[in-house]
Symmetry: C2
Subunit: 184 residues, 2 copies
């Protein structure tokens, strides 16, 4: 039996969305669910903070630097997913151009839009960042003082304002199954 029977091919799943939209929450819940059911599937979560520390310490939040940041993460994701790994990337990636370039760096790639309105995420404000962004204490904050370009043609949309966490996770699992990545 192959060790990775259930995952038919490596894949990079990019979860794009505003800060506080639920990208990381959905990603970790998804990984947990898959690993409980199919412990042999190889999963890698490319966490924004770990990446910034190890690959992108030099980068600011300017448009140019954000483009480079996404490009480096995408390069890493492509190098891992090509070896049959499900790579989950919960990273804002506010520019469509950067996401399109990221797609080109993986053999298999999907763009999942984790949707929540700016009003909703400002209300949630889990990390207190929106308050700081609104007061001007944090500059270049996506959705407040910096643009967020909604995905033009995402492979999947999950709406964390309308769905429960379980529903969002199920939607992703169904997507992976329907598109022949995962044998559920």
């Amino acid at each position: 039996m192959q060790s990775n029977t259930k995952l038919k091919k490596g894949l990079t799943c990019w979860f794009t969305g505003l800060s506080g939209s639920g990208k990381t929450t959905v990603t970790f819940a998804l990984a947990k669910k898959i690993q409980e059911k199919y412990p042999n599937i190889k999963i890698e979560i490319l966490d924004g903070d770990e990446i910034r520390e190890n690959l992108c310490k030099d980068l600011s939040f300017s448009k140019e630097d954000r483009m480079i940041n996404i490009q480096r993460i995408a390069f890493l994701a492509g190098k891992i997913s090509k070896h049959g790994v499900l790579v989950l990337v919960p990273v804002i990636a506010p520019y469509q151009e950067a996401r399109d370039k990221a797609r080109a760096l993986s053999e298999n790639f999907c763009e999942i839009y984790v949707k929540a309105s700016i009003e909703e995420v400002t209300k949630r404000d889990v990390k207190g960042l929106y308050k700081k962004a609104l007061s001007g204490e944090i500059k270049n904050f996506t959705g407040i003082s910096d643009p967020y370009e909604e995905p033009k043609n995402p492979d999947l949309i999950i709406n964390t304002e309308k769905e429960t966490l379980d529903e969002s996770v199920e939607k992703v699992l169904n997507f992976l199954s329907t598109n022949s990545y995962l044998n559920l």
Copy 2:
């Protein structure tokens, strides 16, 4: 049957040595030999030029930037090898401190010293770089105008001045087998 039966665990093999010592040549010959015999073993070669283009475009050849360069490559290598991949890294990495830090970023790591004297590589000068370095046209060139710290305690030494390419490749294969990475 598992897809990766012959490789018992993922591993990062760092091939350190002077420019022109034969790091890339040995790495590609090794990869070819392994893949011919065991096509299911997953191998990734982290090529210096590809990495510089995608992860390290911003970096110079100063000591500080070289340290960052190695750290980024090592981070990438660790992320790939943890998924059961044999990651081969033919990158000069002239500082012992950087190589020691690189080791810490992979679960399994070996430092292979590709040894050739500065006289020999200057004579080979495959890319014409030593000539330029000696004339001052290229600055910060390892072995000429920049230090190369010989590995203090490498896991393996291959000597490309004294061995044929086949002999060097066999030495690495034996090392991988003896150390229970590879089931030959």
